[in-house]
Subunit: 303 residues, 4 copies
């Protein structure tokens, strides 16, 4: 059996990310016992011939992969890895928020040492898949999403008209800019900006959140079990839609009357978490929701 390696992936358009990647690479190489791969496209910039395609990395051949960048990098890496047997990912944030990332520039070397000592846990996150319905018996698979599937009007200011079914039952017809179907992992991303609820990633759910619906449309954020099937039909003549998977892969020119189905994928992501206790709620406060900072003893006036 092949000895398991450590892999590195990073944002390409950031000198800071590339530089940190080099330093992590050197740090690992010095450990002597570790085999290190670089994702193919960055190998020429750091160490040629040490490249390996993300798609060839599995939990069989890779201890873990370090993703250096922000949430966008992490989504790209997760999307490129083996889908059903992915290696775990250590996210290292160098961006502005990086909610999914566990580590950062300051802690990454210490965190890698902890991982190599076995001092970590794995957070396993479900993905969802979108399909375009061709006819009654045929579906075209569009790809897996770790955060969300977004179906959105191809023209700003021209609202879609859609019909929503869940498990075959008609739920609602709406005018709206688009619709988000997010995972629990993606609930703090676009879903939250659109008014959806935050969902702890350990819950196996899908959330359907309308994007800027017309006032009387009625559709509200709806949390469903992941064994549900959501079907969105585009109704408006002469108005195409786009489908975005994790904000990265785009399917353009989706025609009126098309039906799109979303179901749980046979795919997931595994994130490395270092903290002994669950630091989800701390990350949520620090990176997403914040808190008030007022005196604790502020009492209401009595008259």
């Amino acid at each position: 059996m092949e000895k398991k390696s450590i892999a590195l992936a990073c944002r390409m358009d950031s000198e800071r990310a590339l530089d940190l990647t080099k330093r992590i690479h050197d740090f690992l190489i010095k450990k002597k016992n570790e085999i290190v791969y670089l994702e193919t496209r960055i190998a020429p910039k750091i160490l040629p011939h040490s490249g390996r395609d993300l798609s060839e990395m599995t939990s069989e051949n890779t201890k873990f992969i370090v993703s250096i960048g922000g949430d966008g990098t992490l989504l790209r890496v997760s999307s490129g890895l083996s889908q059903s047997e992915p290696p775990p990912i250590l996210g290292v944030n160098i961006g502005s928020i990086g909610f999914l990332d566990e580590s950062n520039e300051r802690n990454v070397f210490k965190d890698i040492n902890k991982i190599l000592s076995g001092d970590f846990t794995i957070e396993k996150c479900s993905k969802i898949t979108a399909y375009i319905v061709k006819n009654k018996s045929e579906e075209i698979k569009l790809g897996n999403a770790l955060n969300e599937i977004l179906i959105v009007s191809s023209k700003n200011s021209k609202v879609l008209q859609i019909s929503v079914k869940v498990n075959g039952a008609f739920l609602n017809r709406s005018y709206l800019d688009g619709i988000i179907i997010s995972t629990a992992t993606g609930s703090t991303a676009y879903n939250l900006s659109a008014g959806g609820a935050i969902v702890k990633p350990s819950l196996d759910i899908m959330q359907l959140t309308p994007l800027n619906p017309f006032a009387r449309s009625g559709l509200k954020p709806l949390v469903l079990p992941t064994n549900s099937e959501i079907e969105i039909q585009l109704l408006r003549p002469r108005l195409n839609a786009k489908i975005l998977i994790d904000g990265q892969r785009i399917i353009k020119e989706v025609q009126p009357n098309t039906k799109i189905r979303i179901r749980k994928a046979n795919a997931y992501a595994k994130f490395i978490r270092i903290s002994l206790s669950d630091n989800y709620f701390r990350r949520l406060r620090k990176k997403i929701i914040g808190t008030i900072r007022v005196p604790l003893d502020d009492s209401p006036e009595e008259y």
Copy 2:
């Protein structure tokens, strides 16, 4: 073993509810094989000596109980029955919305016949419990909620300041009117009006939704697994809170600095559903969210 009976409960302040209850009572009595009980407080108005306390009704001695009224009646009935072994409830709506109710004045006789033929399913819904923390080792149980626990300022226009912990981890400090911890069943009730997400009742979750928070507070609707423990601490000196359980039982004069904990209860409700297929999404559209009614062929103008 005691032969299982059928029980009837209803709204007391509505002639229409009492009248329908009498008609259902007569309908059941005529079936000869059925033993019928009335909840104690309505027995004198329909058939004295046939009364039985809700608290004595269990799945052991009661086939099912018919709750005639609206969601409020159903919440009261569920709260009165045996908590860990309750009989299933058939909700009969005579009110204005009655989302939880499966039946109505028109269908109830037909629906009861279906149930007696075994033509129904059971929807089992988890409850949650609130506790007041007395000291490190002591908690006072406040009661089980099927819909929600509401912690709210005892004075309109005097906002609470609260601290929220989940599983012992500090999440957020906020100014707000109050906070709702709802079950999936209660997600379409007060939680929805306050901006929380709708959650399919088959999901075993709790949702934490702030009530009219101050803009910078940051707290957002948050969906958590039911094995979570939520702790709310009241911070504002000289401002008491009230705790409402399912909008019915009220704990007044909860003092500043009190900690309230919410956890999954060892209790549940069982609702009878008649439809062969899941009619949850139909009820959601018809009773809660609605839909637009515009021409299907409405196309955007081209210039």
Copy 3:
């Protein structure tokens, strides 16, 4: 002085709109005393040689113009007419909502007779203008908006980072999909879907409404006097924006660091209103917000 004429404009892509336009044309021609013009592009389809460009129509030469279509048609017509001295517009809705339209297929002939008898009022609505700041002393005017100026990321799922100033004072920096600056007239359009308030069109205001802002951004719908100057600066490197005026005219490829200013325009629209009393609140209920339909005597249960 030229005798004032009546003008007709309509949606081009709808047979139903063209057909109604023909019938209104015939109806007016039969009146003998009326001179009727068709907007240039529809003249060939109805009566060649009777065409006139919208831009040549002013309150001096045109009694009123009938706009047959929906709100989109009406926005296009208003944008094409003389900006500072426009003739009044009678909107005739054949679309799905047509909030701004006063009339419809059923009432239009009766309504035109009322107008010709002087039985109407004029609602005068302010417009706003967007400018791109070239340097300290130079601005490029982008055009007048009756509903709204929308500044939006050129890529779905890539949020803008913007800085907002009002009257030269720094207000807020946000991550968001975009920002809407709407007039009172446009407050029921995209502004409402994005969470902005409805504003009665008689109020001379601008409303700034963020589009799907990141949770901690803080920006909220803000209503300002129309003598305010709003300045939006695009901050995010390598991410362009688009500017949409009334959802119709698009300025693409607006570069990072660009400043866009919005001020009241020296331009307005005039809408014909037939009803003696103000029917604004009726239109608001019927076309935009709706109402509940439950029994008036629904009382809360007493326990």
Copy 4:
């Protein structure tokens, strides 16, 4: 003519407020030329016999009044002064937010010197009044509000059913906890927490904002000219409402079927503003909405 005096008012339940009031009192007394009054209820604690009732203070006899506390104190002071000819108020914040306050503990002495040198401007803010309709020709005036009139269910968890008319026209019927009619000044207070828009105080408007409405009710925040008349009718049998004026004066046990009307008051508040330029937008950012703090050069990743 009486020489104009300076008056001091403060929160009674705060030692810190009383202490600061004493220091301001001493500071003013030392100026020799100034006559200083204390609001009646605090005089015994600072200098007996120098008390004067708020209701006797007018712009005729009082240069300005210093309000030491937070927004609540300022609302109380404004409510106690002469309504049609009030002296201007300098708000001094010692509380947690104090949005309306211009000054604070650190700046108050410097700011008072500026005012005495004439170095200030006056912000004049309109009030609104609520009336209970007794019969067709009779109304009972309830009092003037600087921030808002709140009509709210007398029971938590029992929603009101109300009918809303504006200028005599039926707008909407809703289920909700209550309804807020706020001024522009009050738009950043309870109105904002309930989802209403922020309105610059120089705008002469009223905003109608529903409090936790049932999903299908449809009512949305609505900004109206202050010459509008809003009429709210309580519809639900057996459910009383409370009316709160600026969160301070409470009218209890308002019966079902009561009609409440809100109109512009013949009353206003005058706030002293020290800054030469308008510091409204700075106060808005610092005290209410906040801003993100992320790197300005954060660019989206390119793939």
